[in-house]
Symmetry: C2
Subunit: 315 residues, 2 copies
């Protein structure tokens, strides 16, 4: 039987710091409805989808606290969860999580078409700095506002209605680290969902990387890692000028061959769709094939990957 799942990438334009939650939820619900009309069974939303990308600001605790969700769902996101269940569309969404004991994570969730949570993930590769960098117009304070994810790189099977794909998640900067992808690949992942907020340029001047180069990097990272791990990937931006800071778009759906089969054209709210044949990855990873991991990998040669974090260069 054919295992074709229609997925949507629900790219979002910017969430301004001044936007209220209701306005953001209304846009997200409109994207859900558009995805449903297009026949999608799973819609992938960005990282920190319910808020502005607040790690760009040094914040007082009172404002900061308001950006975190104490549980999922909760009254401030319930209309989005309700509408998704009514439409029979599942989703991936990124959000700022605070636990009962006050621990904070940059997290994501996959929810099935019945409204039940299928899988949760906490971002492992937090970029930026812990300390506020003086004299900069914008910060990148993820290391200050979040703990490193402590759940590893978990996978779960989706429901029968989705043909039971092995689902995995990454968040933003994770997509540039092949280690995370490989941990998913080693669990037979068939569809990786990714949300991101990625600066379109250095808002503090200096590095000289264009938005085009950064979009190229974003897309290439997903293409190559999807190919190496014989998996589909859906990589979704919050895009446009958010609180004066530019974010790249380029949301894309990528096949296990590393081919971009759909890509967003705007920097705003935009739904793109693709039919993902979940058995397409078998071509690469089947017994005896190029990416038959068990046949070709040599783990005893890779110990450096887990035995050191940073570079140890020869003298």
């Amino acid at each position: 039987m054919s295992r074709v799942l229609r997925v949507a990438a629900a790219q979002m334009g910017p969430n301004q710091r001044a936007d209220d939650r209701e306005a953001i939820l209304a846009r997200m619900i409109a994207l859900l409805e558009q995805a449903a009309r297009g026949g999608a069974r799973l819609a992938v939303f960005p990282e920190l989808a319910f808020t502005t990308f607040f790690p760009r600001w040094p914040l007082e605790e009172a404002e900061l606290r308001a950006y975190y969700e104490q549980r999922m769902p909760n009254p401030a996101v319930q209309p989005f969860f309700d509408r998704a269940r009514a439409l029979g569309v599942g989703f991936y969404v990124g959000y700022a999580e605070v636990t009962g004991s006050g621990r904070r994570f940059n997290s994501s969730l996959i929810v099935g078409p019945d409204g039940e949570a299928l899988l949760k993930y906490r971002k492992v590769h937090l970029p930026g700095s812990q300390e506020v960098r003086e004299g900069q117009r914008f910060q990148q304070l993820e290391k200050r506002y979040f703990e490193y994810g402590d759940l590893g790189f978990p996978v779960a099977r989706g429901p029968e209605a989705w043909h039971r794909p092995v689902l995995g998640m990454l968040i933003c900067n994770d997509r540039r680290w092949p280690e995370g992808w490989r941990c998913l690949g080693l669990q037979g992942v068939e569809l990786v969902c990714i949300g991101y907020n990625s600066a379109a340029y250095d808002p503090n001047g200096g590095e000289g990387e264009s938005a085009e180069l950064r979009t190229f990097h974003s897309t290439m990272a997903v293409q190559a890692n999807a190919y190496f791990n014989s998996t589909w990937a859906v990589s979704v931006a919050k895009a446009g000028v958010e609180d004066g800071s530019g974010l790249i778009g380029g949301s894309c759906i990528v096949s296990p061959n590393g081919i971009v089969v759909a890509q967003a054209k705007s920097l705003g709210d935009e739904v793109i769709l693709a039919d993902c044949d979940l058995d397409a990855g078998l071509h690469g990873r089947a017994p005896g094939k190029m990416f038959d991991l068990g046949l070709h990998r040599r783990p005893e040669m890779y110990r450096r990957i887990v035995e050191q974090a940073g570079i140890e260069a020869p003298p």
Copy 2:
């Protein structure tokens, strides 16, 4: 002081099984001379550069034995080594190695401009099968004819004349395995040399991958891994129709930004050149930057990479 090294990718057209060593060496020497005229200080040659890609054939021991080099250099390659030293051009070259005790490896060597060997590598990711596959016009018998490389992923610094770059090597299929690249990246590699022989299509029919798709994969794998590890890479084909089996071209020189700065246009003997600013990688890996490995990697989350070889999927 600027650390710019001009490198050449010395793509080779096919070596037919009937070609004698002298004819192959003459072509390789012509490529060396062209690289030297172009100002290159280092020329990268393909995998198994001195012979046909013999793992495509089930061979009797008498013929097979003739494809391996007992030491490097030896009389059958000496004119190539001599000419390189006379030109002051170093090189990477792939060859079939047999040790004194009869062990066989798919190996490569980097030789400095003074003719001294700088670094040796033995291919870790051997594709193909150990057993002859019945009914196939062409085999892929690397797992039969070679042992898995036992040297890990070593690096060495090049000479002062090259601005002392940290050099690493991969061979062919290795370029598709991010584990090997990361082991080099963790040693501060600045220039990765790669030779390959990659089928342009399935010569036995079946898979339906075009030469264009395979060339795309070959190039993308190098681009993405160069970017992830903030390193230059020179990836060089033996190309064209060799003994009736098509090989892709697409030899390329790739920057630490993952940009192809030079790419071969033919499927024959062809030299391409690029000036590699060895400090360009610092942009990515410098303290606090996106690819500051020590700051951002979480090795405790990657244990699966060394603790299992193949896929363990959820039920």
